[in-house]
Symmetry: D2
Subunit: 152 residues, 4 copies
């Protein structure tokens, strides 16, 4: 296989892994998040802020912004098909988002070592303004987590 | 007014401020989060993890855990009635939660200075196991943010 | 061995592990940090801010505050004698410290699971005012790191 | 003044502000950190890890890595000459550094809004391997902090 074919295959493999995870990710889908781009170690998601996603200040709940970035992070760090979870994450809130805003979260791998990884996610709005910066640390599991419904 | 009456009034005032914010916080209510305790600089919320809150690994989405803690943080830092928003937050994921789990987030003020504050939130499950630790930095606004629906 | 003797022995064992680490920790000693308390999962350090620890604003360099907390963290998470390193850490700067101030960093274990741990460190000054809050995530090594001077 | 002259002047102005801050930053200079590049919102520092900067594991103390990044951050966020301090910072430790290693910290502005800013700093070693990632939140003061030696 040539180097080009290899890159194409890695891209297709990442897309399949992310699509499979997305198909069973009820929370991400219930919030209307859609995959715009998916590759090895990267993923871009987009969503529209719904009125029921706003907080008592009338702006998009910080938890919704976090979830958008966290989903992009999860897809990016699981793109090789090894079950990988978030160990920690931090978010900087830069600007408020409002109902009707279209938000895009772009996740990229900043580092990988052993079973750990660092991913950076930038959330922008429809005017290409930065809304939040997110950094997450991933941990690849040696064995997959139990599925919901199985005994704990 | 005696010191006891003053403490009672501060408690009642915090409860009123938090109840008012909760009444208009559509995201917190849409996720079934209920107020268990509310006081000056503190708030405890509880929720049941629903199946539509799980991710592709079949466990509670990290964004839902973050939102639970973030809501408790928001109520605690707005308990004096001054519009206050999150500047940043970090979460450490300790244990997975699953559909049906009952999660409790307890927020307490760790520091206040000028217009900034630091709040620590602990999320536990129904077995009193620690699920996540959250730390947020708040920023008190000089003017309240625009309401959703107003021109940006 | 009774439960009391066991607690006494665990305390003594932690103290020995921390003293051994401190003896070879040139950076901590070069900065004049002294052990005030050491136990299983906990450690308290104290130091005086020297003039050569100040930054261009004339206040204690944030890196010195971080190092004080990071050393207390390192001793606390190594108190059982298993080589353990920091994976990540975050610090909230609350108040400036100045040359001559006496700073105390108290580290406590907030969670342990598998080979990971979360430790919280509070830095206070001689007036018992909070100067910084630090949270670190530790990772226990399966094999100790190479010593300085060995081939990389 | 043409746009090119303006860029040149902004660059020279940033360099002067950073040089002035560096001249009085005793901690940064005591640790042998040198300015490699300085511009509007950016700064690159370099240092050699000394034996007295190592910890009990024989590797560079995390506090030294933090200080290197924190100094680059401080210079970058003060490059316009307005006294600006760190509100918070987080560091991800990626690889150990050892005595003799040459470390470079490159700071860049990721966002500015109101009196706040977010800066990202990458530390690499002489083999261009990533050693740590640092993200800091800055806060521009309305009045400069008191100098060391003045009454608190």
């Amino acid at each position: 296989m040539s180097s080009d074919e290899s890159a194409t295959e890695r891209q297709a493999s990442a897309r399949r892994a992310i699509d499979a995870l997305y198909a069973t990710d009820l929370a991400t889908r219930a919030n209307g998040m859609r995959i715009m781009e998916a590759g090895p170690g990267s993923c871009t998601l987009r969503m529209i802020v719904r009125p029921d996603m706003t907080n008592g200040h009338g702006t998009c709940h910080g938890g919704v912004l976090f979830m958008l970035a966290d989903s992009a992070f999860a897809f990016a760090c699981n793109s090789e098909g090894h079950p990988t979870v978030a160990a920690s994450a931090a978010i900087e809130f830069l600007a408020a988002a409002r109902a009707g805003d279209e938000l895009t979260a772009a996740a990229a791998e900043s580092w990988r070592g052993g079973r750990s990884g660092i991913y950076d996610i930038v959330i922008t709005n429809q005017r290409d303004e930065r809304v939040a910066l997110f950094r997450g640390r991933s941990h690849r599991l040696s064995t997959p987590p139990k599925k919901s419904g199985e005994p704990a």
